[in-house]
Amino acid sequence: MKTLLIPAALALLLSACGEYPQTVVYKQGEYQGKTDTRPFDNPPWNGDKAQWENDMRARGQNQNEYKRVN
């Protein structure tokens, strides 16, 4: 199904839009966009994934009012 759709969609894209590069090097089934950084790449974590995950878990507990009231 998908293989049928893609050429059609591509054709549409190429004919209808002048704002984007006309030649897309396309590799089917793989993400074609820009690479994203990871949320913990920036300060204050600077790549320390474990610390970021701990911080996120701690933050998540704010949603649990049972932590503050029983």
Binding site: A9, G33, E53, M56
Partner: protein
């Protein structure tokens, strides 16, 4: 590894639209685009239930599977994002999505679609984190600030939960055990797979058998 999930507790949701507004506020989403919405079943009748719905960041996301230009990606944290520069606004993801999450700005006189917009789990997009460009295309990147999605953090009754799956499950389990019923976990199996829910249930049962860690507090 952290796996980010949403869960809406229909026993708690009061359809206040706080989540919808928090999203508008945080990302300055324009009029007519609803990354999140509240759906009510049986409105005005006994048994009325509401649930807050947005992109569920599915484990096996149908939007990713059908996208003709492959503009979707899933982060290590399980957040499904897309590159708007690639998106052609074709709308296939909308047909594929079981939650109706993708949104399209109406464009020009013939109702063409603009580039797809959806909930980012407050994780921005592929542009540099919290850059002006990222904000303009995707909204604020709270995960990169060490914060969780604002919709859940601001939920009036803490019905909508977001974050690390283990934490979300713990929070929900504690209240479900306290009140003695779970409420329908709407969308969970569709988004994250029945397997995961089963695992959670088994883990819950094991914990209960092990030592009743969440027994009723004194004075109740």
């Amino acid at each position: 590894m952290a796996r980010m999930k949403f869960l809406c507790d229909s026993e708690r949701c009061i359809e206040c639209n706080g989540c919808v507004t928090a999203c508008k506020n945080e990302h300055e989403v324009p009029w007519g685009i609803n990354r999140r919405r509240v759906v009510t079943l049986g409105d005005g009748q006994p048994g009325e239930k509401s649930i807050s719905v947005a992109c569920m960041h599915c484990t096996d996301a149908p939007c990713m599977a059908v996208c003709p230009v492959d503009c979707f990606y899933r982060t290590d944290e399980g957040v499904v994002l897309h590159d708007k520069d690639m998106c052609i606004g074709c709308g296939y993801c909308f047909y594929a999505c079981p939650f109706g999450a993708p949104q399209y700005p109406q464009n020009g006189a013939f109702g063409q679609r603009g580039k797809m917009d959806k909930c980012t789990f407050c994780a921005g997009g592929p542009e540099a984190d919290n850059s002006q460009e990222e904000f303009e295309k995707y909204g604020r990147n709270r995960l990169a600030e060490g914060k969780l999605p604002l919709c859940a953090e601001m939920c009036s009754t803490k019905a909508l939960l977001a974050g690390d799956a283990d934490v979300v499950a713990d929070v929900f389990r504690q209240r479900a055990l306290t009140r003695g019923k779970g409420g329908e976990l709407w969308g969970w199996a569709t988004a994250y797979g029945p397997g995961e829910m089963k695992q959670d249930r088994e883990r819950e049962q094991k914990r209960e058998q092990a030592g009743k860690p969440q027994e009723k507090k004194e004075g109740k």
